[in-house]
Structures are given as structure tokens and as C-alpha cells.
């Protein structure tokens, strides 16, 4: 899947605002794979994942004008939205939430605009997770990919609540340390 790295997200968003369909197609090419992958991982249902993918990019098409690049990362927003909505669908909770582009701000210093950059970061994230003590990794993945709360993780694993919290915090700390450029 091509990700045309020559044109920045910002430039593409501007063109989307002007109604340039090919700019939206480019953004789809660039991030559609990531959005779909996380949606599919969470939902385990290709059809629903595909619908979610479309909805997200359609919303981007409609609301691109409220995206303020000085205050957030488009890639970040897409991934956060993808994960949040997938979890909502999975848990059938608050299905009506649609976080507006202008309301949910995601500050992300990482550049994901090229396939190379994406692959590199993918590798790094995987490496971090693999280095985590298995209980920490499990707690983090249950939280992230299944949307469980501390209490629910504790129920699932049979561990005390306090332990679960500590593990999740520790995992997030490790993630932060390893990924910060």
C-alpha cells in the first residue's frame, strides 16, 4: 500500500478542505491500513472493521476544516478514534459518541507519514512489548485491545486490583521510555 511521503498530512488536509477527493484518497492510502489493522484486531470482525474504517475517513472528509495542525497530529487522531470507536462497538457502550476532529486533540511528535516511518515505529513498539514482563504486557493489551478497566482485568486474570494497576502503570512507563525520541 503506497503512502505518498512527498506531500505532508497538513497539505493533504488543506486540499481535503477544498474538496479535493484525491487528497482524501491519499490520506486513506497513507493511514487506512493502520486504522483497519487496529480496528480488526479489536473487533475481530472484518465487516464491522471495514465499516468503521470508512466512517472514520468519511468523517475526516466532512470535518477536515476543523483540524488544527498546530494543536494535534492527524495520524494520532485517526489511531485514537479508531481504537476508541472499535472499543465502543466491541463493548456496545456509548455507540453514539463521535469525537469531533476539533475536540479530541492528540499531540504526537512521531511522523507516520511514510510507510518507512510506520514500519520503523511498528518494529519499535513490538520490541517494547516483547521486552515487557508477560503479566505487564497482558494487562496492557487487555486494556488497550479489549477496553477493560482495572477491575475487569483483575477479574479476568484473577489478580488483585492493586497489582493490576501497578502493572498497567509500569507497562505504560516502559512504553513511554522506550518510544520517546
Amino acid at each position: 500500500m503506497g503512502a505518498k511521503a512527498e506531500i505532508s498530512d497538513l497539505a493533504l488536509v488543506r486540499r481535503v478542505v477544498e474538496g479535493d477527493e484525491s487528497a482524501l484518497a491519499s490520506l486513506y492510502d497513507r493511514y487506512g491500513g493502520l486504522v483497519y489493522s487496529v480496528a480488526l484486531r479489536i473487533l475481530r470482525d472484518a465487516q464491522v472493521a471495514e465499516e468503521l474504517l470508512q466512517d472514520i475517513f468519511y468523517q475526516l472528509w466532512r470535518r477536515a476544516s476543523s483540524f488544527d495542525p498546530t494543536r494535534g497530529s492527524l495520524a494520532g487522531w485517526l489511531l485514537v478514534i479508531a481504537r476508541n470507536r472499535a472499543i465502543s462497538l466491541l463493548r456496545r457502550s456509548n455507540p453514539g459518541i463521535t469525537e469531533e476532529l476539533s475536540e479530541l486533540k492528540v499531540a504526537s511528535p512521531w511522523n507516520l507519514e511514510s510507510a518507512t516511518a510506520q514500519n520503523q515505529l511498528m518494529g519499535r513498539v513490538k520490541a517494547v512489548l516483547e521486552k515487557l514482563p508477560p503479566p505487564q504486557r497482558q494487562a496492557l493489551e487487555l486494556a488497550y485491545f479489549e477496553g477493560l478497566t482495572h477491575t475487569e482485568i483483575a477479574q479476568r486474570t484473577g489478580d488483585p486490583l492493586g497489582t493490576v494497576k501497578t502493572r498497567v502503570r509500569a507497562a505504560l512507563e516502559s512504553l513511554k521510555k522506550a518510544l520517546n525520541p
Binding site: 500500500m1 489493522s37 479489536i42 471495514e50 478497566t149 482495572h150 518510544l179
Partner: protein, 261 residues
């Protein structure tokens, strides 16, 4: 760990969605007031977003892109929506012009005609205004305004400039029980430490403040139904320049003054 540190430590958990119950509510309440934590939350979200990269990379079916593009093309009305500018400013003098003419007529007219005029004015209001909420507030005020304008006992006062500032003009409509309307134009803008203050000068007693105001960019001003004690007979109206925040009794130069004839 002090309170704020605890909030900061919880931001990652909040972004992840694992924070629950009271802790979550407390953090949400805190976020509403803490810009620093809000910013840190945005960063926390950014980091967490990278976990999406841990999902096994899977390409979406090719038809997904086609469907997306079809959906965009199918509804040409759904063009990207431009961010809207704030609602247009209201040009008071233009709005007031027909009302001034109306006031002269309605004094001698029966209530049914007044009611119809009221509706027509409301129509015009609605046609002129951009924001719906402003509309509703102004609609209510307009009814009250018309009430003052049309009451037989309402006195109309023209204010003219005192010697120091030859250009400004003003008009006041005052009814002892229904209230005061005041409009002025060509008032020069003031520095931050100063403000205009409107005064009702009663036949008996000291001047009563009818409010402080600034002019809009065009030098126009309206003071509509400020709170005033009712039943006061006015001898005159005046506008002075006072220190910001206003004063209990006039101290500054009079910019506009008008006597009730």
C-alpha cells in the same frame, strides 16, 4: 504525592480508559480547569496511539476504498464544511431607523396594530440576525424595547454633544415603569482605564447610574433595559467618561447630555 502529581500520574490511565469511578470523575473535573494537564493528556494520547501499531498489519479490502470514494461522490451536497466565522455584528443604527419612525406613529395607535407591528419587527429581527441564540435573547428584549417605545408616557430625549466632543449623538427612550433604552453613535473608543457611564438625572435627588458601556468598533452603543429603580421621573440623561468599572456618582467629563422636555 500531592494532589496534582496524582492527577498527572493518572493521565496515562485515563487516556487508556482504565481509570474508573471516583478517580476518573475527579480527574475529569480537574481537567476542566487545568490547562497543563489537558496538554499532558494530549501527549499521553499520542503515545498511547502508537500501541495501535502493535496490531498485526492487515490491508483492508480494495473495495473499502472504492466504497468510500463512491460515498463521497454520491452526495455532492456533503462538501467539506468550512469552519464558520463568528456571527456577523449587528448594525444597530440600521435596525433602529425603522423603529424610530414607528415610535412616532404607534403612540396614537390601537393595540391590535401594535401587535402586528410587533410581529413585523420580530420578523425583521429574525431576518437580520445570524445566530439563533442571540436571536432568541434579542427577541425578548425587542418586545420589551417596543413596550417602552410605544407606551404613551414614554419620554423621548435627544442627547447632543457637550462642548468638548462635537460629534457624538444619542437618543434615550424612557418610561418610569417600563424602563430605559439608550442608543448612541460616534462615541470615540476609550483607553482600557476608562469607560462610558450612562446617568439618569432625576427631578429629585442625585444622578442614578444606568450602566457602564464601551462602544463597538463603529462607535455605536446600545444600553437596553438596564436595571433602574422604577417610578423615577427623569429630568435629564447624560453620558460621562469614568474610570473603568464605573463610579457611584459622575466625576468625569460629560460627553452627551439631554434634557427631558
Amino acid at each position: 504525592m500531592n494532589g496534582h502529581q496524582q492527577f498527572e500520574a493518572d493521565l496515562d490511565l485515563y487516556a487508556l480508559g482504565t481509570l474508573e469511578g471516583e478517580e476518573r470523575q475527579a480527574l475529569e473535573a480537574h481537567l476542566r480547569t487545568c490547562a497543563d494537564c489537558t496538554r499532558k493528556l494530549e501527549e499521553a494520547r499520542g503515545q498511547l496511539a502508537l500501541l495501535a501499531l502493535a496490531a498485526p498489519p492487515t490491508a483492508p479490502p480494495a473495495r473499502a476504498k472504492e466504497r468510500l470514494l463512491e460515498r463521497i461522490r454520491k452526495r455532492p451536497g456533503d462538501i467539506p464544511q468550512p469552519a464558520r466565522e463568528p456571527a456577523v455584528r449587528f448594525d444597530f443604527w440600521r435596525w433602529m431607523a425603522p423603529v424610530f419612525a414607528l415610535a412616532a406613529l404607534t403612540l396614537a395607535i390601537l393595540t391590535t396594530i401594535v401587535y402586528r407591528q410587533n410581529r413585523e419587527l420580530n420578523h425583521r429581527l429574525k431576518g437580520l440576525q445570524a445566530a439563533v441564540q442571540e436571536e432568541q435573547a434579542r427577541f425578548k428584549r425587542a418586545q420589551a424595547v417596543l413596550d417602552v417605545l410605544t407606551a404613551p408616557e414614554t419620554v423621548q430625549v435627544t442627547l447632543a454633544a457637550s462642548e468638548t466632543h462635537p460629534v457624538p449623538q444619542g437618543k434615550a427612550f424612557y418610561h418610569r415603569d417600563k424602563g430605559l433604552l439608550f442608543y448612541a453613535a460616534n462615541l470615540p473608543p476609550l483607553t482600557r482605564e476608562k469607560i462610558y457611564q450612562l446617568w439618569l438625572i432625576p427631578t429629585d435627588g442625585n444622578p442614578i447610574s444606568a450602566g457602564i458601556f464601551q462602544t463597538d468598533r463603529n462607535g455605536n452603543v446600545e444600553v437596553v433595559l438596564p436595571s433602574l429603580p422604577s417610578g423615577v421621573t427623569a429630568k435629564a440623561f447624560a453620558v460621562t467618561i469614568e474610570p473603568a468599572g464605573g463610579v457611584p456618582q459622575p466625576t468625569g467629563p460629560k460627553v452627551l447630555i439631554g434634557l427631558v422636555s
